[in-house]
Amino acid sequence: MSARVLIVEDEALLAIDLASVLEDAGFEVVGPATSVTQALKLVDGPGCDFAILDVNLHDETSEMVAVALRKQGTPFVFLTGISKDHALSWFGDVAILAKPARSETIIDAVQRRISVGQARDT
């Protein structure tokens, strides 16, 4: 069974592109969610094995989504155009992928963390 990756990204075109990159790499995409509310629904409902979070979502940030994922123990990475964001300081150990990111970088980041998670589970 392929791993389920949640995409939280308010820029529709980026979300679609990210989704196609992940799908091409054999992942199942959850979402994409374009707002915190949508994302939290997906985290609580179908859930996911991994998440890619854009930090700034219009007037809000994905901080609450990160908190929810952390509670579940679901690994995630941030994807942002801002090199340093105060919202990220709460999650010091979480990787930050810089926008614009290459497809390979994203796939590599997801694969590495999911395999670590799976290794921990077994």
Partner: protein, 410 residues
């Protein structure tokens, strides 16, 4: 004058010569001298003796007249005849001494030679009292008066110097206060300027961060467009990609023009279809109420209009010379609340053939806009021409300032 001698003045050439060896310096102001004698003739004599251009002699024939004069003016010297009917010179001197203002005015008494007035005079404790025996020697009187006048002038000069000094001290104090006030104002201004500068700097930093964020975002969008374009049509990649980037750039011009806030729907359509300029209003008609789009909605709708128009040129209504496009938008009230609707209707074009594969253009006019505006799209390949429709919650499309927009356009 009731003395033993008839004459007030004696001549003494030697004494005159001695005293007048040191002529007095001419002061630059008049000096008042009061001469008091009950005998008018004596007053006239004294006047003659003390005739100097800078002496102003005031005559009094009684103690009462003398007192009145003293009340009215300031005197450098008083010359009093002791023996007068009524109030004597002594009594007058006493009264003058008692007045604080005149207590230090020097007095020269005129006394008869064989009288014991001297003893009384010596009883005065003040050094500012002198006496002369009658008949008096004019030179000695002049000399005594000169000394006393000089003393008076020096005192007056001292007083005026003192006043000037005091005024200068006051002025300096005032200047110091003004200087301190100015300093405080200056310090306050420096603080204010520094604060304004700091705020401006902070604002610039904020703007730079925002610019950085937006450019990273737009670069990501460009990268996604490149990726999607190459995936769906590698052969025409460069043409399609550059056209899409140009469409994006057009939208940015509009966004910057509106301070990244709101864009009129009509302006957006006009901007994206600028290359149809000669067709606008004839074969391409855009109609709808004045609506201000949010920046996000404007970017998404702009991309949709670009993809639809590109398709119309390549495969749709604009391939044939009769083909028409109608673009319409509006606001509708439904059970789910106010909704923004938009349609793109082609007609009189070549026969419509539904595409076999979904390219990036299709993704933009369906999935992308749906996701971006939380809406629903419909694409119909009718025989008459392609029809595209969008319906989404009004708040997703509109800028908060639409009430104002309606006012401006009405």
């Amino acid at each position: 004058m009731t003395g033993t001698h008839n004459s007030l003045v004696v001549s003494d050439a030697a004494a005159t010569a001695l005293v007048e060896r040191h002529p007095p310096t001419y002061p630059n102001e008049m000096v008042n001298i009061l001469i008091v004698d009950d005998e008018p003739r004596n007053l006239t004599v004294l006047e003659t003796v003390l005739d100097q251009p800078w002496y102003r002699l005031v005559k009094a024939e009684s103690a009462e007249q003398a007192l009145l004069a003293i009340l009215a003016e300031e005197f450098a010297v008083l010359i009093l005849d002791i023996h007068m009917p009524g109030t004597t010179g002594f009594e007058l001197a006493q009264m003058i001494r008692q007045r604080k203002k005149t207590s230090n005015v020097p007095i020269i008494f005129l006394t008869a030679y064989f009288n014991d007035d001297e003893h009384v005079i010596e009883g005065y404790d003040s050094g500012a009292v002198d006496y002369l025996h009658k008949p008096i020697n004019p030179a000695i009187l002049r000399s005594k008066v000169t000394v006393l006048v000089e003393l008076h002038l020096k005192q007056r000069q001292l007083e005026s110097t003192n006043r000037a000094l005091l005024a200068e001290v006051m002025e300096r104090r005032l200047i110091q206060e003004q200087l301190r006030d100015l300093n405080e104002t200056l310090e306050q201004r420096v603080i204010e300027r520094t604060e304004a500068h700091r705020m401006a700097e902070q604002h610039v930093r904020l703007l730079m961060n925002e610019v950085n964020h937006r450019s990273k975002n737009i670069l990501s969008v460009v990268m996604a467009i490149a990726q999607q374009t190459v995936a769906s049509n590698p052969k025409e990649f460069f043409l399609q990609f550059s056209n899409r980037i140009r469409a994006l750039s057009l939208n940015h011009d509009l966004l910057v023009k509106s301070y990244w806030k709101k864009i009129g729907m009509a302006d957006l359509i006009e901007g994206q279809l600028a290359h149809f300029e000669d067709l606008m209003g004839r074969r391409v008609v855009a109609e709808g109420p004045p609506i201000l789009l949010s920046a996000t909605a404007a970017q998404s709708i702009g991309m949709v209009v670009h993809e639809l128009s590109t398709n119309a040129i390549k495969h749709g209504a604009l391939v044939s010379v009769d083909g028409r496009i109608n673009i319409a938008w509006g606001l509708e009230l439904s059970e789910a609340g106010e909704r923004f609707t938009m349609s793109w209707t082609e007609s009189h074009g070549p026969p419509v053939v539904a595409p076999t594969s979904r390219g990036f253009g299709t993704t933009v006019v369906t999935r992308m806009i749906e996701m971006s505006m939380d809406g629903k799209t419909e694409v119909l390949f009718e025989p008459e021409g392609l029809i595209w429709r969008l319906s989404c919650p009004a708040y997703k499309a509109l800028d908060a300032d639409n009430a104002i927009a309606a006012d401006i356009h009405s």
